[in-house]
Amino acid sequence: MMAALRTPRGLATVVILLVLAVLPLLTQAFDQRYLLSIGTRIVIWAIAAVSLNMILGYGGLVSFGHAVFFGIGGYAVGILDAHGVSSGWIQWPVGVAMAALWAALVGALSLRTRGVYFIMITLAFAQLLYYVGVGLEAYGADDGLNISRSRFAGLVDLRDKASFYWLCFALLAATLWFCSRFANARFGFVIRGAKSNDLRMTALGFPVFRYRLAAFTISGAFGGLAGILLANEGAYISPAMMSWVKSGDLIVIVVLGGMGTLFGPLFGTIAFFVLEESLPPVLNLVQKGWGEYWQIVFGPMLVLIALYARGGIDSLFGRRHG
C-alpha cells in the first residue's frame, strides 16, 4: 500500500479511490447534490468499462455491442418489476444471469469469426436486442418505462442517494478486485497471450475459443450488473440504454483510460464524464451558444486520441513495470 503511493500512478489511483469512497460526504458538505448523481453514473459506467476492458483490453476483442448488457440488466429489473416482483434478491441474480446467458450465446457465434466480422456481429446482435426493446409495446417500446427501484428489505434503501452510491461503489471495488485477479491468473494470461498470438496459444494446447467464451460471458455478466444499477439509478429503462452510440462511448472510455490496465477504465470514465460536463460551459465561455455544439470538438478529439494517444490516460503516468 505505502509502496504504491511512491509512484505517480499509484498516488493518483489512491487519491481517486479515496475521493470516490467519500463522495457522498463531500457533495453533502458542499451542497452539490447534482455532483453525486454524476458520481453515481461514473461509478456505474466504470463497472461496465472495467468489464469491457476484460475482453477488449486484455483479450484484444473489439466488441462493439457492450451496451446491450446495460439493456439486459435494466430490462430484467424493469420487466420483473412490472410483474410485481420488486425484490432485488430475485431481480439482480436474474439480470446478471440473463446477461451472462446472452453473452454466452453471442460469444459462441461471434468468437468463431475474426477481426472486422467480430466487430460487426457484436454490433448487430446488440442492435437485435435494441429492436426487440423498441418492439416491446407492453414495456414502453421506444418511450421506455418508469420503474420502481429494487427492494432489499431491511438491508439498504436504494431510494436514498448516498446509500445507493455506496452500494455502487462497493460493487465497483468488487469488480476491480475481480478484474485484478482475472488479469493475473492463468486464465487471464491465456486471454492476454491469445491477444498477441492466438495461433501460438492454440499450438501450446490451450483451447483458446473456450477461454475467450468464458471471458466474454464473465464480461457480459458484469455488464449486466452495471445495467441493473443504471436502471435503479434513474428508476427508468428504455431501449436507448443499449443504443450503439452507448457501445461506442464504452469503447471510447476504455481506450481513453488505457486498454488492458486495471484502473484505466476508471480513469477513462471519469475523464469522459468530466469532458461531457465541462466542454459545453468552456465552449460557452469562448462564444455564447457554442456549448450546445460541444460534440463538434469532442468528435475530432476522439480522432486525435485514436491517432496519437493509444496508451490512454494510464500511459501519462509513465511505462508500467512488469
Binding site: 468463431r112 466480422y117 456481429i121 461506442g248 481506450v255 455544439y293
Partner: protein
C-alpha cells in the same frame, strides 16, 4: 397478389439503395482495410448538400447531379485529412476515429442546417404514378429509384470487372503492397475509391430523401444495416453485397407488410402493428446469424 408484387418492388428499391451504401463500404474495407463507421455520415451529408443545392437551383435533377461531385470532394478531403492516417492502424483505432467523425458530422449538420429535419419534395415530373402492369399503379419516383439504382449497380460491376481502374481496384484488394511496388500511385487510387464510395453513399442518401426525410443521424441506423449486408454477403465482395442487399430489402419490406396480418391471428391488432416493424428488423439479424453459422465469412467471402 398485386399487393405482394408492390411490396416486392419496394423491397427491390430499398435493396438497391442499401447496395449503393454497402458497395462503398465493402470497397473501402477490402482495398484499404478500413472499417469506416462514418460512411453513414457521407450518406447524410449527401442528402443535406442535395437539399441546399436543390433549393439554390430550384431543380431536383440539377441539384442532385451537382451534389454528387460535391460529396466526391468531401470524401476526398475526409480521406486526405483523416482516413489516410488510419489505413495502417488496427481496427480498434479505425472504429474510434470514425466514431469521432460521426459525432463531428452530426454536430456539423446541426450547426449548418439547424436541428430540425428537412424535406425534399418528389420532383414534379416524377410525382405521378405509372401502371407497371395493367391496372396496377406504382409511384413513378420509386420506379426512377429502381432504374437509377440498377444502372449504377451495373456501372459499378462494369467498372470493377472491365476497366483499368477496376483492375487496379481488384489488384489492390488482393495485394496492396504489390501494386504499389509495381509503380501504381496507390494514394491516388485510395482517394479515388474513397471518393467513389462517398458518391454512392450520397446518391443513396439523396434518392431516399423524398421518401423519408433529411435528418441528423439518418445515416447511422442505415449504416448498421449496411454492415449487416456486407457481413452476410462476405466482406470485399461486390456481388455478395448485391445479393445480401436484395435479401435484406425483401425481409425488411415484406416483413413489415405481411407480419401484421400474420401476428393479428394471435395478438391484438394494435400490438401486432407496433411489433411488426421491430420483428422484421430482428429477422434481418437472425438471417445474418444463420448465414454466419453456416459460413463464417459470408456468402461470397473468401474462405480462410
Amino acid at each position: 397478389m398485386d399487393y405482394l408484387l408492390l411490396q416486392v418492388l419496394n423491397g427491390v428499391q430499398l435493396g438497391l439503395l442499401m447496395f449503393l451504401l454497402a458497395a462503398g463500404l465493402t470497397l473501402t474495407f477490402c482495398i484499404m482495410d478500413l472499417v469506416n463507421l462514418a460512411h453513414g455520415s457521407l450518406y447524410m451529408m449527401g442528402a443535406y448538400i442535395a437539399w441546399t443545392l436543390i433549393g439554390w437551383t430550384d431543380s431536383f435533377v440539377i441539384g442532385a447531379i451537382l451534389a454528387l461531385p460535391a460529396t466526391f470532394l468531401l470524401g476526398v478531403v475526409v480521406e486526405a485529412v483523416v482516413m489516410r492516417r488510419l489505413y495502417a492502424r488496427d481496427h480498434l483505432d479505425q472504429v474510434l476515429a470514425t466514431f469521432g467523425l460521426i459525432l463531428f458530422f452530426n454536430e456539423l449538420v446541426r450547426v449548418i442546417w439547424g436541428p430540425a429535419g428537412k424535406s425534399i419534395a418528389v420532383p414534379q415530373f416524377l410525382s405521378h404514378t405509372v401502371e407497371i402492369l395493367p391496372g396496377l399503379p406504382y409511384p413513378a419516383y420509386r420506379v426512377a429509384i429502381i432504374a437509377v439504382g440498377a444502372v449504377v449497380a451495373a456501372l459499378l460491376a462494369w467498372l470493377v470487372a472491365r476497366t483499368r481502374v477496376g483492375m487496379l481496384i481488384r489488384a489492390g484488394a488482393s495485394n496492396r503492397r504489390m501494386i504499389a511496388a509495381l509503380g501504381i500511385n496507390i494514394e491516388l487510387l485510395f482517394s479515388l475509391v474513397f471518393g467513389l464510395g462517398a458518391v454512392f453513399a450520397a446518391l443513396a442518401g439523396l434518392m431516399a430523401a423524398p421518401l423519408t426525410s433529411v435528418k441528423i443521424g439518418m445515416g447511422d441506423d442505415i449504416l448498421i444495416l449496411a454492415f449487416v449486408i456486407i457481413v452476410i454477403g462476405g466482406i470485399g465482395s461486390i456481388k455478395g453485397a448485391f445479393v445480401a442487399a436484395m435479401v435484406v430489402g425483401q425481409i425488411d419490406i415484406v416483413g413489415r407488410a405481411f407480419l401484421p396480418d400474420f401476428l393479428k391471428t394471435f395478438m391484438s391488432s394494435a400490438a401486432a402493428s407496433s411489433a411488426a416493424p421491430a420483428i422484421s428488423q430482428v429477422l434481418v439479424y437472425v438471417v445474418m446469424a444463420g448465414v454466419l453459422i453456416w459460413r463464417p465469412t459470408g456468402l461470397f467471402g473468401q474462405r480462410t
